[in-house]
C-alpha cells in the first residue's frame, strides 16, 4: 500500500508544502514593525545667569536653534528661570552677546537645575561673541 505511486506522490506533495512554510519566512516580505517610542525627557526649571566683564550688553540664549531668553542688561549680571528638558547626556545652549566698543570682553553663562552643582561656560570676543556651549 505504502509503495503505491499515488501514496508516494501524496507524501512528497505534503513534504514540499511543509517546506514552503520556513521558505516563506526566509524570503517573504513582512510588514514593517512600528518604531519604538522612547519617552521624551521631562522639562525642569533651569536657572540661567549671565555675568559679563562689560556692561551694558545685549544677549540671546538659544536651545535647539530657537531663542529661549534674550534682552539687554545695563549691569554686569542678569538672570532668569526657564523650563528646559535636560537629559543625562547634557544640553547644548547657544549664547550670543554684544558689547559696545571693540575691546575684548567676556561673558559667562551659568546653568543651575535641580540639585546639580551650577556649571558655567565662557565666551570671549571683540564687540560680540557667539558659541554653542555644552553643559553636562
Amino acid at each position: 500500500m505504502l509503495g503505491s505511486p499515488l501514496v508516494r506522490a501524496a507524501v512528497a506533495l505534503a513534504v514540499l508544502l511543509l517546506l514552503l512554510v520556513p521558505l516563506r519566512s526566509f524570503t517573504g516580505t513582512r510588514p514593517p514593525v512600528a518604531a519604538t517610542v522612547v519617552a521624551a525627557t521631562p522639562e525642569t526649571t533651569a536657572h540661567l545667569e549671565i555675568v559679563s566683564t562689560k556692561s551694558p550688553f545685549t544677549f540671546s540664549v538659544g536651545y535647539l536653534g530657537k531663542p529661549i531668553w534674550h534682552g539687554t542688561s545695563d549691569g554686569p549680571t542678569t538672570a532668569s528661570d526657564v523650563k528646559l528638558p535636560i537629559p543625562k547626556e547634557g544640553i547644548d545652549l547657544s549664547l550670543d552677546v554684544g558689547w559696545t566698543g571693540p575691546e575684548t570682553s567676556a561673558a559667562k553663562l551659568v546653568l543651575s537645575h535641580d540639585d546639580n552643582e551650577p556649571t558655567e561656560r565662557t565666551v570671549w570676543g571683540s564687540g560680540q561673541a557667539s558659541d554653542i556651549l555644552t553643559f553636562p
Binding site: 512600528a34 518604531a35 525627557t41 535647539l64 547644548d92 558659541d131
Partner: protein, 291 residues
C-alpha cells in the same frame, strides 16, 4: 660689458623663475587630501588623486598606471592610520627625493576594538573638522618642505582654507545643536563616524566594523536590532560606497526609517564633491532625520 652682464642676470633670473614656477606634482591616496592639497597648493601644484570620488578606500587596490604617477611625484599624501595597507609595496616605485606624508598619523587616534582583529586605530579622522584643520597645516608644511620658494603662496592659501574650515566648524556646531543630546544616536553601515561622534556628542552603532571588508555577523545584527528597539533610534543611515541590503532589513525589523545616505569614506558625486559640501550634507541629513 655692462649690457651683457645685465642680460645674463635677466636670463638667469628668468630660467630660475621658470624652474621654480614648475608646479609641484602631488599624488594623493585620499579625496579629502586631494582637495586640501589643491586648496593650499593653488597654481603652484598639480594634484593627481589615485583614489577617485565614490571609491571605497578600504577596498582600493593600486593599478600599474598608479605606479607611473608615483614615479615623478615630489609629494605623496596618504591618509595614514593603516588604511593604505598597500603603501609599503608601492614605496619602491616612488622617487628617492619625493616626500611621503601619512597625514593622519600626525593626528591623535581613536582606538577601537574590531572583532577577530583586536585593537586598531580608527582611520576616519576627516569626520572631525578640527582634524582637517590639523591636516591642512601638515600639508602646508610638507609643500613648503618640497618647494620653499612658494612658501608665501602656501601660507596664504592655507590661511584662507583654514578660515573656511573654522566657519564650517561653527556651522556644524550650530546645526548639531538643533538636536537634543539624548537623540544623538547614529546607526551607520560601517563604523566610520567615531571622530564626528566624539567631537559633537553622538553615540555610534555600526552594522559593520571600522573596515568595510569585514561583514557583520548574524549576532552583531541581532544585537544592533535590540539596541535600536531599546533606544528608540529613529533613523538608520546608508553610505555612498556600500550596499544598503542589511540596513534596509534592519529598518523592517525595528521600524526605524532610512535617514539618508552619508559620505563616509571620502568625497563623492553631488553635494559631497567638496569637503564643505560633504560635511554639510552629512550633518544636515543626520540632524533632520533624527529630529
Amino acid at each position: 660689458m655692462k649690457t651683457i652682464s645685465i642680460l645674463l642676470t635677466v636670463a638667469v633670473m628668468t630660467l630660475g623663475r621658470s624652474f621654480a614656477a614648475e608646479p609641484v606634482k602631488v599624488v594623493s591616496f585620499s579625496t579629502i587630501l586631494s582637495e586640501i592639497a589643491t586648496q593650499v597648493g593653488g597654481d603652484a601644484v598639480t594634484v593627481v588623486g589615485l583614489v577617485k570620488p565614490d571609491v571605497d578606500p578600504h577596498e582600493y587596490e593600486p593599478k600599474p598606471d598608479d605606479l607611473k604617477q608615483l614615479g615623478d611625484a615630489r609629494l605623496v599624501l596618504a591618509s595614514g592610520k593603516n588604511i593604505e595597507h598597500y603603501l609599503p609595496k608601492l614605496q619602491a616605485g616612488v622617487s628617492a627625493s619625493a616626500v611621503i606624508v601619512k597625514v593622519g598619523d600626525q593626528i591623535p587616534s581613536l582606538k577601537m576594538t574590531e572583532e577577530n582583529v583586536g585593537v586598531i586605530e580608527d582611520p576616519h579622522w576627516w569626520h572631525s573638522v578640527a582634524n582637517v584643520e590639523k591636516a591642512t597645516k601638515v600639508i602646508r608644511d610638507a609643500l613648503i618642505q618640497v618647494d620653499p620658494e612658494a612658501k608665501a603662496t602656501f601660507e596664504k592659501n592655507a590661511g584662507a582654507y583654514l578660515a573656511k574650515l573654522a566657519a564650517l566648524d561653527t556651522w556644524v556646531k550650530k546645526k548639531v545643536a538643533e538636536l537634543p543630546r539624548d537623540r544623538r544616536e547614529l546607526v551607520t553601515s560601517h563604523d566610520a563616524f567615531q571622530y564626528f561622534a566624539k567631537q559633537y556628542g553622538f553615540r555610534i552603532y555600526a552594522i559593520e566594523g571600522v573596515s568595510t571588508e569585514q561583514e557583520a555577523s548574524a549576532k552583531q545584527v541581532d544585537d544592533l536590532i535590540a539596541v535600536i528597539k531599546k533606544e528608540g533610534v529613529k533613523a538608520i543611515f546608508l553610505e555612498n560606497t556600500l550596499n544598503p541590503k542589511v540596513s534596509t532589513e534592519i529598518t523592517r525589523e525595528t521600524g526605524a526609517k532610512i535617514g539618508g545616505t552619508l559620505y563616509a569614506d571620502g568625497l563623492g558625486a553631488g553635494e559631497g564633491s567638496t569637503y564643505e559640501g560633504m560635511v554639510k550634507h552629512n550633518v544636515s541629513t543626520i540632524v533632520e532625520a533624527l529630529k
